[in-house]
Symmetry: C2
Subunit: 125 residues, 2 copies
């Protein structure tokens, strides 16, 4: 699991930041939580088409450990868990903004496909 190999000695800040963002869905989770403020597990799953439940849980747990995500459990039936960004998660998201702009520019340059998702969660392509 990724959690074991982390917090290693880092070469530089980028290294340390990448360690935290590495993972197929982490940046998307960050983006989703940033957009909606707070989201339930199933909402996140629907918002990230293609993610498996296992990976979503695993990533959320790691991000919680890393202090990026806050997990609020409501002891109800049916169970309800709400995820939101901590201040560190918010600042990381802000730090990723310039990278996102660069990436968008790159998509334009190379004319890559882009998966777009509408509000209902259906993949449009």
């Amino acid at each position: 699991m990724a959690a074991s190999a982390r917090r290693g000695p880092y070469f530089c800040g980028i290294d340390a930041a990448m360690d935290v963002v590495a993972g197929k869905w982490k940046s998307l989770i960050l983006w989703e939580l940033h957009n909606y403020g707070t989201r339930r597990f199933a909402e996140l799953r629907r918002g990230l088409p293609g993610v498996s439940e296992k990976m979503l849980i695993q990533h959320l747990r790691e991000m919680e450990e890393d202090g990026l995500v806050h997990r609020e459990v409501y002891r109800e039936v049916p169970p309800k868990v709400e995820y939101s960004l901590t201040e560190h998660g918010v600042s990381l998201n802000a730090a990723l903004a310039s990278l996102g702009k660069w990436g968008t520019e790159r998509i334009r340059r190379i004319g890559a496909e882009k998966v777009s998702v509408d509000v209902a969660g259906a993949v449009l392509r």
Copy 2:
């Protein structure tokens, strides 16, 4: 190989940028080339303690394909190859700056070890 799965449809800009930076040494290569302007293969290898020749080559080739790195071959004996950043490499590096700052802050927060390397290339710890 990483080159096969790339340029896939992206969810967003961050996704596209991460695709290009993903790889254990890519951000370090970017940083190294940014600092020195132009570097030979063996200089890069010495500058990134722990990198294997295979990975260095592989990453450099991928970054060349992605238009981040320029490769200049001098047909001499012994062979000489110089690597430098293209304009896209430079702008990517700039976009990574804020992420690097965030990571440095995180290193300070969690008190992680940091591998420091002196000019001669020896690992100090």
